[in-house]
């Protein structure tokens, strides 16, 4: 039964690797687990429901759309599960179930399968679905929607985007009633399901970096850029840490911006991409009308990736030598 896999016909270089898409996706799922568990502690069983519905409908949407398009089934590679998890982590726990299903259909059918399936999507499917849901149901994605059911001793009013981000501004600094840095770090604040606990997300990120699933360049440069700009803008380490730990920055930088399909290949490209993400996030957070800008900035940079790839195209090995030889031959 293994016969089919023994002979692989492909173009050079013939590098053999035990890595498979399924294996990578499994690693990402494992890395996302701590944030999921943390979210159930913060938001209660409703968070689990949203996660389950999101994953199930993403897988089902992938299965049905592949079937309708008469293409090979790809649900076995678990990428739809990852999309489902990421989508759920980007939604408030109070969102109605059918809206989660609508988001899953947008992510899988419109953004992923209509462009050709895994590896062909032009932006991160889960993020675009989140943005579609924000524009489709503004009331569900703002004001109070983010408040958890058992937020430990905390009761903050929700604001559009990630809640803690509504409680800090360039003019006033950190406002009264904002959660402390420790709460932000542990995740006992209001916000989207998967974004609240910086600790859980960092654990997942470290696991991914150790397993070499993601390169540390994008998360480090992205978070570093935001930290630096915020430090300059506020002139205050507390406010800088608040901006770094709060909102969707951690989940965005670790899990969303590092998506293989929609991030540059070369290290130089990755740095430019992450710098752009950080800069846009800061611009939206500081000067935009929305309190949070992680999802928009990643989507915008996703779209710019093909251009970044063009600028940072590595020179082909041997190109210089060839030119020299030509010169010599001319002489």
């Amino acid at each position: 039964m293994e016969l089919n896999n023994k002979l692989t016909v492909s173009a050079s270089p013939h590098v053999k690797s035990a890595e498979t898409t399924t294996g990578i996706m499994l690693d990402v799922i494992i890395a996302l687990l701590p944030a999921g568990i943390a979210s159930i502690f913060v938001f209660g069983i409703r968070a689990l429901l949203v996660i389950a519905v999101s994953v199930a409908s993403c897988v089902l949407a992938e299965y049905l759309s592949r079937k309708a398009m008469k293409r090979d089934q790809t649900i076995g590679d678990l990428s739809a599960v990852v999309t489902g998890l990421l989508l759920a982590y980007n939604l408030p726990s109070t969102i109605p179930v059918w809206e989660v299903i609508f988001g899953a259909i947008v992510a899988i059918v419109v953004v992923k399968q209509m462009f050709g399936g895994i590896g062909q999507n032009f932006v991160n499917p889960a993020l675009l679905a989140r943005i579609v849901l924000i524009s489709a149901f503004p009331s569900r994605m703002s004001a109070g929607a983010f408040v958890g059911t058992n937020v430990v001793g905390w009761d903050v009013d929700g604001v559009t985007g990630a809640t803690p981000m509504g409680l800090i501004s360039l003019a006033d600094g950190i406002k009264d009633g904002a959660p402390s840095l420790m709460h932000l770090f542990l995740g006992t604040t209001a916000g989207c399901i998967g974004e609240v606990s910086a600790l859980a997300l960092l654990l997942g990120g470290i696991y991914l970096i150790i397993r070499k699933v993601i390169s540390p360049i994008i998360p480090c440069v992205y978070i570093g850029t935001v930290a630096l700009i915020m430090l300059i803008a506020f002139g205050d380490v507390n406010a800088m840490l608040y901006e770094v730990l709060g909102g969707g920055l951690m989940i965005g930088a670790i899990f969303m911006a590092t998506d293989y399909t929609t991030s540059p290949i070369t290290d130089k490209g990755k740095i430019i991409y992450a710098l752009g993400c950080g800069l846009l996030t800061c611009l939206i957070r500081l000067f935009g009308s929305l309190p949070e800008g992680v999802s928009f900035s990643i989507i915008i940079m996703n779209i710019l990736v093909p251009h970044i790839e063009n600028w940072t195209k590595p020179t082909i090995f041997g190109t210089v030598k060839e030119k020299k030889e030509k010169k010599e031959a001319a002489e």
């Binding site: 609508f102 579609v132 524009s135 489709a136 149901f137 503004p138």
Partner: protein
């Protein structure tokens, strides 16, 4: 191209096979802008159809008189005259429609369906054929617009305004819902993005895909196109430049 079509074919080609919006991708600006409610869509469709028929007839009748070099300004003058008539009629008899369509009513002057049919059809064909072409294209435009508006209005506002110039009813009234909309009444809520521009583009894309599918399934048999003719990359193909044909 050279084959003669019957008048029936001239009419029916505008419905799906050469639907101006979904297949020729003309007039997308008014399509996206006014397809937020069925009432506006039908109003826009009818107004544009009227202008299209009249301008096709006049331009076709004058096609031998109009000097080739200044034909576009001449067409615009003819079209603008009819748009003015239609606009005054709408203002007088259906002021609510005039309000709903706003700037897009006078902008029919530069609607590329009308200019496109003048340039592409009326200046080469007889008066009767041009009139029929205008009706077919106009009906096709109206159908596409109405279909799109129905989808966008139903999902985006949970309502359907089944009205023509103020007469008729709405889906809300049929079910006696008062202030709530149909989607909220069954436990869902309107998906606001469908009314907004991104939802317009999304619906437009889906309808275009459907129209392509239908036109393909009953259009030309595929065997008609072979070799480089059938290949979308033919223009940039290196093998064709060398005078060869690829295996496919």
């Amino acid at each position: 191209m050279a084959e003669k079509k019957t008048l029936g074919q001239e009419f029916s080609k505008g419905l799906i096979k050469e639907n101006p919006v979904l297949r020729l991708v003309l007039g997308t600006c008014p399509t996206l802008a006014v397809s937020t409610s069925i009432e506006n869509a039908i109003g826009m469709g009818v107004a544009a159809t009227m202008v299209l028929i009249c301008s096709n007839i006049v331009i076709s009748a004058l096609r031998k008189v109009i000097p080739n070099k200044v034909r576009i300004p001449c067409y615009i003058v003819v079209i603008a005259a009819f748009v003015t008539i239609v606009q005054l009629v709408v203002k007088a008899f259906a002021p609510s429609l005039d309000e709903g369509l706003g700037i897009y009513l006078p902008l029919i002057v530069v609607n590329c369906i009308i200019l496109g049919r003048a340039e592409g059809f009326a200046n080469k064909n007889g008066v009767l054929a041009s009139a029929i072409d205008g009706i077919g294209m106009g009906v096709g435009f109206t159908i596409a617009l109405t279909l799109m508006a129905a989808i966008r209005e139903f999902f985006g506002a949970g309502n359907l305004t089944l009205k023509v110039i103020g007469y008729g009813t709405t889906l809300k009234d049929i079910f006696h819902l008062g202030e709530t909309d149909v989607l909220s009444a069954i436990g869902l809520e309107p998906i606001l993005i469908f009314i907004l521009a991104p939802g317009g583009f999304f619906t437009f894309g889906l309808l275009m895909a459907c129209a392509n599918k239908i036109a393909e399934s009953k259009g030309k048999p595929k065997a008609e196109l072979k070799g480089c003719e059938a290949c979308p990359m033919a223009a940039s193909c290196s093998m064709k430049a060398e005078g060869k044909e690829c295996a496919e």
